[in-house]
Structures are given as C-alpha cells and as structure tokens.
C-alpha cells in the first residue's frame, strides 16, 4: 500500500481553505472500500473471461477429437485400399 503523506490528525488542514469534515481514518476506510469495489469488479471481469475461454476450450477439444477421428477413419480407408 502506498504511503500517506498526511499526518494522522483528526482533521487534516487544507491550508487556509478550511478543515476536512472527514477524519483521516474515515478517508482511509473510504479508500479501502473503493479498492474492494474495484477489485470485485476486476474479479468479475476476469471470471467472465475465464468462462468465455472455457467455452472456447471445450469447442476446440471437440473439434480436435473430431479431426482425430476423421484422420483415423481416412487412414483405415487408405490402408484398406492399398492392401
């Protein structure tokens, strides 16, 4: 986690502009909550990709098995003709 440059005072001063209504800890917790939300979203996107790739993988496996069967059949036929 990145280092915070601010002190741990309850209300961080904003120069002459005013003081923060939120405490340091509250801001920190808000940031952590945002990180959780973002990570959850990233996880769901990654899961969606895995699901899509799994469907593709099953399709390729089926095609590979089909192609292998075709090859074996063709080889048998060729062998039968040449004998």
């Amino acid at each position: 986690m990145k280092e915070k440059v601010r002190g741990r005072d309850s209300f961080a001063a904003i120069e002459s502009k005013g003081r923060s209504l939120l405490t340091f800890d509250e801001r920190h917790i808000l940031a952590l909550r945002k990180a959780v939300d973002e990570t959850t979203l990233a996880v769901s996107r990654c899961q969606r990709l895995i699901d899509e790739q799994t469907v593709l993988l099953e399709g390729w496996k089926y095609q590979a098995a089909d192609a292998r069967q075709n090859l074996e059949r063709a080889m048998k036929e060729t062998t039968g003709r040449t004998q």
């Binding site: 986690m1 990145k2 280092e3 915070k4 440059v5 601010r6 309850s10 209300f11 961080a12 001063a13 904003i14 120069e15 502009k17 005013g18 003081r19 923060s20 209504l21 939120l22 405490t23 509250e26 801001r27 920190h28 808000l30 940031a31 952590l32 945002k34 990180a35 973002e38 979203l41 990233a42 996107r45 990654c46 990709l49």
Partner: protein, 228 residues
C-alpha cells in the same frame, strides 16, 4: 517511371480529459456528518472555522441517501466548482502496442482491468517508456485512493472505447500534476511494477496543475483506432 503508392496508415490514439474540482463547503458540520450516517466525534467543531468535504465523497454518497435527506444535505453544502479542465493526447508506448498485438493476434494473456495513474510535472513521454522504466516522469500518489483508479470501459463502439464514468481521485495533499497514464496493474510507486504494462501516457496540454487536499480530480480517457 516512379509509382507512388497510396498507403493508408492505421492510427491508434487516446484523448484524455482531466477536471479538477474544489471541495464543498459545509455550513453545519455536525448535522452533515449525521445526515451522511457518520459517527459523532469527540472533537468539537469550531464554529469560527470552515469545514470542507471532497466532491468525490458527496458524489458517491448522496445517491445512497433518501430524497428528503439528500435535499437537507444539499442545503448545508455548497461551493464546489470546477477549477480547471484540460484535454490532452497520449502516446501509446511500445509496451502498450506490443500488448495490443499480443493479446489480439498472438494469444497472450488479456488484461481485464486497466488503471489510471498520475504523472509528475511536465512529463516527457517517449515510445520506449514502460511501467517499470520511464525516465521522463515519475508517478504521483498524493490521493486518498489506495491504488491507481480503475478505468471502467463502456465497451467498444465504432472503433472507440471510453470510461463513461470518470476515474475519480481524492487529492490528499498539495500536489502538482503534469499528466496521466494507463497501466495494467494498480499498485502505485513503491510497489513492484515489473509485472504490469504501461499502455499510454500523456502530458496536460495547458501545463501542470496544482491541486490541494480534498480537491477532486476526474479523469476520462477515450481510445480510438482508425484504418486511415
């Protein structure tokens, strides 16, 4: 006889918008805290002092309140304004271009989440920059968010993709920012960056911008590709 071939050149671009906002002024701190559901504090609010609230907090929390409470809060907060707005173009670095080609054409791992980071003053971005090595700029991390902020795309349409909701930073100290970048991992400076990729980076068109604690920075990045 010389023949000149009309060669179309495909273009991959990025157009960014950055907007800085000052915090909201709060006229009755205790009541506003209560309305937002924040616990009461032992520390007393000084009536002679002005208190502020980041716009990012209000934008996130206000929609969660009831209409009546929202109206009540609305009467007690005021004053946030847009400090500046800048649009700028990026350079899609070689690392980003390789990633684009690799994941599209060469079966490399797809990056499912991209993050926006902020650069130091007057960044010099070159094609050879990587997330790990970029001599012309450093990363700025003076914001509340724990990590670089997620860039949530709205899907690709007409060779363009953008983040419909701006990636939002809550500034935590006075800081000067010179531009922004898009990276494939979110830990900020100080964490290992070797496993991540830099896609693009750019400098603000109108020069560096200074923001203060509790200011909000909204960043939108739109990436386009064109056949010619």
């Amino acid at each position: 006889m010389n023949i000149t071939l009309d060669q179309n050149v495909s273009r991959i671009r990025g157009l960014w918008t950055a907007e800085g906002y000052s915090p909201l002024r709060v006229s009755d701190p205790e009541k506003v805290r209560r309305l937002f559901g924040l616990p009461a504090l032992k520390q007393k609010f000084n009536p002679g002092e002005s208190y502020t609230l980041p716009l990012s907090f209000a934008r996130e929390r206000l929609p969660l309140l009831s209409v009546g409470t929202r109206r009540e809060v609305g009467r007690l907060i005021s004053g946030s304004r847009r400090l500046w707005r800048d649009t700028f173009k990026n350079i899609v670095v070689n690392e980003g271009l390789n990633r684009l080609l690799g994941s599209t054409l060469a079966g490399e791992t797809v990056v499912t989440a991209w993050y926006i980071g902020l650069t130091s003053s007057s960044p010099t971005v070159v094609a050879g920059d990587t997330l790990d090595i970029h001599a012309g700029w450093t990363e700025i991390a003076n914001y509340d968010e724990t990590n670089r902020v997620l860039w949530v795309d709205g899907g690709v349409a007409a060779q363009s993709v953008t983040n419909p909701s701006a990636s939002r930073f809550t500034i935590s100290a006075t800081v000067t920012i010179g531009g922004a970048f898009l990276a494939s991992v979110n830990p900020v400076t100080g964490s290992p960056a070797t496993e991540g990729f830099l896609y693009a980076a750019g400098a603000f068109t109108a020069g560096n911008k200074t923001l203060n604690d509790n200011d909000t920075l909204d960043v939108t990045a739109t990436f386009t590709a064109a056949a010619a």
